[in-house]
Amino acid sequence: MSPEVALPVIIPFIAGALSLIFYKSHAAQRWIGVVGTGALLIASIVLLYNTYTQGILVMEMGNWPAPFGIVLVSDLLGAIMTVLAAIMGFAVAIYSLPTISKDHEAFGYYPLTHLLLAGVCGAFLTGDVFNLYVWVEVLLVASFALLILGGERAQMEGAIKYVALNLLSSIMLLTAVGLTYGLTGTLNMADLAVKLPEVEDQGLVTVVAMLYLVSFGIKAGAFPLFFWLPASYHTPPVAVSALFAGLLTKVGVYALFRFFTLLFNHDVGYTHELLLWMSGFTMITGVLGAAYHYEIRRILSFHIVSQIGYMIMGLALFTPLAIVGGVFYIMHHIIVKANLFLVGGVVYFLRGSYELKEIGGLWRTKPWLGLLFLVPALSLAGLPPLSGFFGKYIIIRAGVEAESWGIVAVALVVGLLTLYSMIKIWAEAFWKAQPEEHEERAAQFERTLSDKSLALMILPIAALAAMTVFIGLGAQPIYELADAAAEQLLDSTHYIQAVLGETP
C-alpha cells in the first residue's frame, strides 16, 4: 500500500472543504490556500521521488484488488504531471494574494482553485477510465465557476462556448467509456491494456480510440477542436488564466499520452499517423492565431494551442526518443506558459491594459521585469539554452531520425513564428516608449501598485523563471526523468504488472 499516491487528491479536497467551511473569513482562506498548495507540493514531490526510486506505485482504494475497485496509480508520467500541477497551484496561490479581488474571494475563489487542483491531480493519478471521467468533470466544473467569477460580459460570452464545447467533450468521453465497458467488461486501465487486444474485432477498438481522440483532443485544444480555448482563456482574472494555461489542456495531453501508449497501441500506423497530422495543423493554426492578435493574453492563448502540437508530435512519432521529447516538452511548457501569463498580469498591473498598442516603456522603467519576461518568452520560442530549446531539440531529432520531414519542417517554422510573436510582445510592451495617449492610465496603475503586492507577484515569476533556466542548463536530470517516464510508457508491462500484479 502506498498512501502517498492518494495524498495529492486528498490534500486539495480537504483544503477545498475547509475553505468552504471558513467561507466567511478571507484571511483563513488565504492561509489555507498557501498552506494547502504548499502541502500538495511537498506531497507530490515525495510521490515523484518514491515513484522514481521504487517504481510504479499503486493504491487500491477501499482495499478492493484491481481491477475490481478503483486504483490510483503513480507512474512517472503521472507523478511528474502531479508535481507540475502542484508547482502551478503553489505559484498561483502566492500570486493570487495581491491580485485576486475581494469579490472573487467572497464567491469561492479559493475553494474552487483547490478543487480544480484536486481534479487535475486525480486525472493524472487515476488508473480507471470512468474515474478519469469523474476527475475531468471535477476540474471542469471548478474551471467553469472560476471562469465566470467577476461576471463581466466577456467572461459570460467566453464561458458559454467554454462550457458547451467542454461538455460535449465530456459526453464523448463518457460515451467512449461506456463503449469500452461494453467491449471489454472492465474499466481498469491496466486490465483494459490486457483485454483490449483480446477483443476479436480490433477495428472496433480503433473506432473507440477515435472517440477518445476527439474527446481528449477537445480538452487538449488540438486542431480542429480548440475553439473554446481562444474564446475564453483571456477573460478571467490573470491568475486564473495562468492556472488554466498551465494545467487544463495538459490534462487532455496527458490523457492522450496515457491512452495512446497504454491502451491503443495496436494500430500505430493509423492512429498515430492521425495524431501526427493533428499535431502539425495544431501547431500552424495556433501560431498564426497568435501572429494575428495584439492582446497579450490572446497571443498567449493561441500559443497554448500551437505548443500542444509539439507535445502531440512527440506522442505521434512514437519512437522512444519522441516520447521522451513529448514528456520533456510538457514539463517545460507548463512552467513557461503559466509564467508568461503571470508576467502578463504584472504588465497589466503596471500599465492598465493588455493591448500591446496601448502600453510600452517597460524595459526602461522595469528592466528586471524585462529579463523575467525574456526567459519564459525565449524559452517558449525554443531558443537555447533555455528549457524550450531542449524540448524542441529532442522532438526535432526524433522527427529527423524517423525521417518525418514534413512535421520537422512544420515544427521548425512554427518555432520561428513563435519567436515572432514573443518578440512582438517584447518590442511593443518593453522596448517601445509608452504611447502618450495612454500615459495617464499607466501612471495611475503604476502608482496604485504597492511594492509589497509587486514583490508577491514577482516571487512566483522569478521562481518559475529560475526553473526554466534550470531545466535548460541542467537538462540532464530532467532528461533522465523524462527518459524513465517514456520507458514506462512504451513498455506497458511495467504498468500492467504494477497494477494487476501479474505478467500479461
Binding site: 469561492g108 474552487l112 465557476a145 458547451a164 474485432d201 475553439f227 494575428y292 531539440y393 527518459d483
Partner: protein
C-alpha cells in the same frame, strides 16, 4: 578552457554593476577580460602548431549527446584570437563612444554575453552546443541592434536580423542533426569530421541545403544579405564587432569547419561558389551606391563574406589559403574602419560622406589611420589586404570549374572596392571643410587606440607576411583543408596574371573614384533595385504572414458557436465513421429486437419528445417535452432492472424542470433565427452523429463480454461489503472515489451558481 569560454557570461552578470561603480574608466577595466582571453588563446598557438588539434571534454547533458567539449585547432584559434583581440578594443571604444549613456551598463552586459556566445560558437566541439551558442549570438545581437529601441526603425531592423538568422538557424538545427546521423550518431565535430563517408549519406543534398540555409543567413549571403546593412541601426561599436570578427563570420566559420567533412562535392562547389561570387559582386555594387559611412562599410562586409564563401566553395589549396588570409586581413581593416567611421560620426554628427570634407587638419590621426586601413581594403601593397587579394585572384583563376565566372566577378568587385576605399579614406578629409552638426575635433584616445593598433597590424602583417602565415594562417588552413599545406605569404611574387588583374582593378577603381559623383547620380536613380530586392521579398513575406494569420484566424475562430460545433461534430463523425467503415470488419448484426408493448410505447414517447423539443417554437413546449424525455428514460431504467437509476432520474428531472422554469422564463421567447437551409444543414450534421452512435451501439452490443468485472463485485457485495443493494455498495464502497468526485462536482456547481446569482444581486445593489 571552459572558464575562458564562459567567462564572458559571468562578467556579463556583473557588468552593469561594475560599469556604474567604475564610472569613466569602466571601458578600460572591463577590456581586461578580453585582453586576458587574447593572451590566454595566444598561449595555445604553439600547442596547436606542435601537437595539432586539441579536444577538451566537459560533460553537460550526456543523455542527449550534448557536451561542452572544446575543440582547439588552427581555425578555432584564429577566430578566438580575432574575437578576443578585436573585442578588447571594441570594449574600450564603446566606453568612449557611449560615454555617459544611461544604457551603457546593460550594453556591456549584453556585449559580453555576445562575445562569450561567439567564442562558444568557434570553440565548441559538440554541434548542438555550437548551435546553442549560435542562437545565443542571434538573440544577443538582436538586443544590441535594437539598442536605440525607442526608435521604430531600430526595432524593425533588429527584428529583421533576428528572424532571418534564427530562421536559418532552425534549418541549421535540422541539418546538424542530420550531420550527426550521417556521421554515425556522434555529435562531436572531431569524430564526425573524421568520418570518410559523410558525402555518401542518403540525404546528403538535403543536409547540405539545410546547413547552408543556416550559414548563408548568418553570413548574409545573397539573397539574405539585406539584414546586414540594416543591422547598422546598432551603435557603432556593435557594428564594428559584428562585421569584423563576430556574428556574420559565424556562418563562414561553420562552412570552413565542415569543409573537410562535407565539402568538395559538386553541390558544395556550385552552391558556395556561385552564391559567394554573387554576394561578393552584390556587396561591392551596393557599396558603390551608398553614401553613408557605415553603409559603405556594411556592403564591403557583404563583399568580403561572399569572397570567403566563394573561396571555401572552390576548395582548392590556393582557395583555402586565400580564404584564411583574407579572413584575417578583413577582420583587421574592417574593425579599424568601422571604429573610424564611428569616430567621424561621433565627432561631426553625420554619417553622410557627401556632407563631410576637409577634416584632415582637425582629425589627423583619424585621417592617417583611415588611409592605411582603406589601402588594405583596396588591396594595395604593402598592406596585408594586398596579399589576400592576390591569393584570391589566383584561387579564382585556378578554380576547378567556371573559373572565368569567378575571376570576372572578383575583378569587377575589386574595381568597385578600390573606388569605395578611396571614397572612404579621402572624401571626408580632403577638400574644403564642410559645415557639420557638431564642431569636429579629434576623437578621444579610447576611440582611437583600436583603429590605430589594428591598422598598424595590417601594415606589419603586409610587410612581414610570413609571421602570421606560420603562426595563425597555416594551422587554420590545415583545419579547413583537412591536410597540412606548405606555403608562405609574400608581398611580391613576381609579375603574373593576378598582379596584372590587380593593376587593372586599381586603375579602373581610381577612375571610378574620380567620377564617383556622376556614378552616384546614375545609380541612385536606379530605384528598381530597392523596389525588387530581396528585402522587398522579406517585407512581402511578413505582410503575407500577417495577412494569412488574419485570414485563417477569422476563418477558424470566427466566433460563431455553431461553426465550432459543426466542425467538432463532423470531425468526430469523419474520424469515427471512417474508422468504423474501414477497420471494423464484421458486418453489423441487427441484434435483439424483441420488445413488449409498454417498452416500445415509452421508447416512442422518448423519441417523439426529443423531436418535438427540438422543433417546437414554444418554450413551455420545449421544457415539457424535455421533461417527458427525462421521465421516459426513467421508466426505461425501471423496466430494465435499475430502480435506483429510475428514482434518481425522476428526482433530477424534476429539479431540472423546476430550474428551467425558474430561470428560462425570464429569457425572451424563441425566435426563428436560422434560415431553412441552415436548418437542413444542421439536421444533416445532427443525424450523422446520431446515426453514428446507433451504429456504434449495435457494433459494440454484438461483442460478447465473457467476464465483466461486475461479476466479482456482485459476489463480494454481501459477504465482503455487507450490502444488499449492489448499486449502492458500488457507489459508497467499491467505487467510493467516483462518488466523492461526484459530490464535489455538485458542491462546485452550487458554488458557481451561487457566485453568479449573488454577483448579480450585488450589481443591482450598486
Amino acid at each position: 578552457m571552459l572558464i575562458a569560454v564562459l567567462s564572458g557570461f559571468i562578467l556579463a552578470a556583473f557588468a552593469p554593476w561594475l560599469t556604474r561603480s567604475l564610472g569613466d574608466k569602466a571601458g578600460w577595466i572591463l577590456a581586461l577580460l578580453p585582453a586576458g582571453l587574447f593572451a590566454y588563446f595566444l598561449t595555445w598557438v604553439p600547442v596547436v602548431i606542435t601537437d595539432g588539434a586539441q579536444v577538451v571534454h566537459y560533460p553537460w547533458i550526456p543523455g542527449l549527446d550534448i557536451s561542452l567539449s572544446i575543440l582547439v585547432d588552427g581555425l578555432s584559434l584564429l577566430f578566438a584570437l580575432l574575437i578576443s583581440g578585436i573585442g578588447t578594443f571594441i570594449i574600450i571604444y564603446a566606453g568612449g563612444y557611449l560615454h555617459g549613456h544611461e544604457d551603457l551598463p546593460r550594453f556591456y552586459a549584453i556585449m559580453f554575453s555576445f562575445m562569450a556566445a561567439m567564442l562558444g560558437v568557434v570553440l565548441s566541439n559538440n554541434i548542438i552546443t555550437l548551435f546553442v551558442f549560435w542562437e545565443l549570438t542571434s538573440i544577443t545581437s538582436y538586443l544590441l541592434i535594437g539598442f536605440h529601441h525607442e526608435q521604430k526603425d531600430a526595432r524593425w531592423f533588429a527584428l529583421q536580423g533576428l528572424l532571418v538568422t534564427v530562421g536559418g538557424g532552425l534549418a541549421l538545427l535540422a541539418g546538424l542533426i542530420m550531420l550527426a546521423l550521417a556521421g554515425g550518431g556522434s555529435f562531436e565535430l572531431s569524430e564526425i569530421l573524421a568520418n570518410e563517408d559523410l558525402r555518401e549519406y542518403g540525404f546528403y543534398t538535403g543536409m547540405v541545403i539545410l546547413i547552408l540555409a543556416g550559414t548563408f543567413t548568418k553570413s548574409a549571403q545573397v539573397p539574405f544579405h539585406f539584414w546586414l546593412p540594416n543591422a547598422m541601426a546598432a551603435p557603432t561599436p556593435v557594428s564594428a564587432f559584428l562585421h569584423s570578427a563576430t556574428m556574420v563570420k559565424a556562418g563562414v566559420y561553420l562552412m570552413a569547419r565542415l569543409n573537410p567533412g562535407i565539402g568538395g562535392t559538386e553541390l558544395w562547389l556550385y552552391a558556395l561558389g556561385i552564391f559567394g561570387a554573387l554576394t561578393m559582386f552584390t556587396g561591392s555594387f551596393m557599396a558603390l551606391r551608398s553614401t553613408g559611412l557605415k553603409a559603405v562599410l556594411a556592403y564591403t562586409t557583404i563583399m568580403a563574406l561572399g569572397t570567403l564563401t566563394m573561396l571555401i566553395g572552390i576548395g582548392t589549396e590556393q582557395a583555402i589559403i586565400a580564404a584564411m588570409t583574407f579572413l584575417l586581413a578583413h577582420a583587421l581593416y574592417k574593425a579599424s574602419l568601422f571604429m573610424l567611421a564611428g569616430a567621424l560620426d561621433h565627432e561631426t554628427g553625420t554619417k553622410d560622406i557627401t556632407k563631410l570634407g576637409g577634416l584632415r587638419r582637425l582629425m589627423p590621426i583619424t585621417f592617417v589611420t583611415a588611409c592605411i586601413a582603406a589601402l588594405s581594403l583596396a588591396g594595395l601593397p604593402p598592406l596585408f589586404g594586398f596579399i589576400a587579394k592576390e591569393l584570391m585572384f589566383e584561387a579564382a583563376l585556378q578554380a576547378p570549374t567556371i573559373g572565368l565566372f569567378f575571376t570576372v566577378l572578383a575583378v569587377l568587385s575589386a574595381i568597385m572596392i578600390v573606388a569605395m576605399a578611396a571614397v572612404f579614406a579621402l572624401r571626408p578629409f580632403i577638400g574644403d571643410l564642410k559645415e557639420t552638426p557638431k564642431k569636429p575635433h579629434e576623437a578621444p584616445l579610447s576611440m582611437l587606440i583600436g583603429p590605430v593598433v589594428l591598422a598598424s597590424l595590417s601594415l606589419i602583417f603586409g610587410l612581414v607576411g610570413f609571421l602570421p602565415a606560420a603562426a595563425l594562417v597555416a594551422p587554420a588552413v590545415e583545419s579547413v583543408y583537412g591536410a597540412p599545406i606548405d606555403f608562405d605569404l609574400y608581398l611580391w611574387h613576381g609579375i603574373n596574371l593576378p598582379l596584372m588583374l590587380s593593376v587593372l582593378a586599381v586603375a579602373l577603381g581610381l577612375l571610378l573614384f574620380w567620377k564617383w559623383n556622376a556614378v552616384l547620380a546614375v545609380f541612385s536613380r536606379m530605384t528598381f533595385i530597392d523596389r525588387f530586392g530581396p528585402e522587398r521579398g522579406y517585407e512581402k513575406l511578413m505582410d503575407g504572414l500577417v495577412w494569412l494569420a488574419a485570414w485563417q484566424t477569422r476563418l477558424l475562430q470566427n466566433g460563431y458557436m455553431r461553426n465550432y460545433l459543426i466542425t467538432i461534430v463532423l470531425t468526430t463523425v469523419a474520424l469515427t465513421g471512417w474508422t468504423l467503415f474501414v477497420h471494423a470488419g464484421s458486418p453489423m448484426p441487427l441484434g435483439d429486437i424483441s420488445f413488449s408493448l409498454h417498452e416500445i410505447v415509452v421508447a416512442g414517447l422518448v423519441v417523439m419528445g426529443a423531436i418535438v423539443a427540438s422543433v417546437t417554437s414554444s418554450r413551455l413546449g420545449a421544457v415539457a417535452t424535455l421533461g417527458m424525455v427525462g421521465f421516459g428514460i426513467a421508466l426505461i431504467y425501471v423496466f430494465f432492472s435499475a430502480p435506483d437509476l429510475g428514482t434518481t432520474q425522476i428526482m433530477v428531472e424534476t429539479l431540472t424542470v423546476i430550474l428551467l422554469v425558474l430561470v428560462l422564463f425570464r429569457l425572451p421567447s424563441f425566435q426563428k433565427l436560422s434560415s431553412t437551409a441552415s436548418r437542413m444543414r444542421d439536421a444533416v450534421v445532427a443525424v450523422s452523429l446520431g446515426g453514428l452512435m446507433t451504429l456504434l451501439i449495435l457494433a459494440v452490443n454484438a461483442v460478447e463480454v465473457t467476464e465483466p468485472i461486475s461479476d466479482q463485485l456482485v459476489a463480494w457485495s454481501y459477504p465482503e461489503a455487507h450490502g444488499r443493494n449492489i448499486v449502492n455498495v458500488i457507489l459508497v464502497d467499491f467505487r467510493a472515489l467516483d462518488t466523492l468526485g461526484e459530490i464535489f462536482v455538485v458542491g462546485l456547481a452550487a458554488i458557481g451558481v451561487y457566485a453568479m446569482i449573488r454577483l448579480r444581486a450585488e450589481d443591482k445593489a450598486k
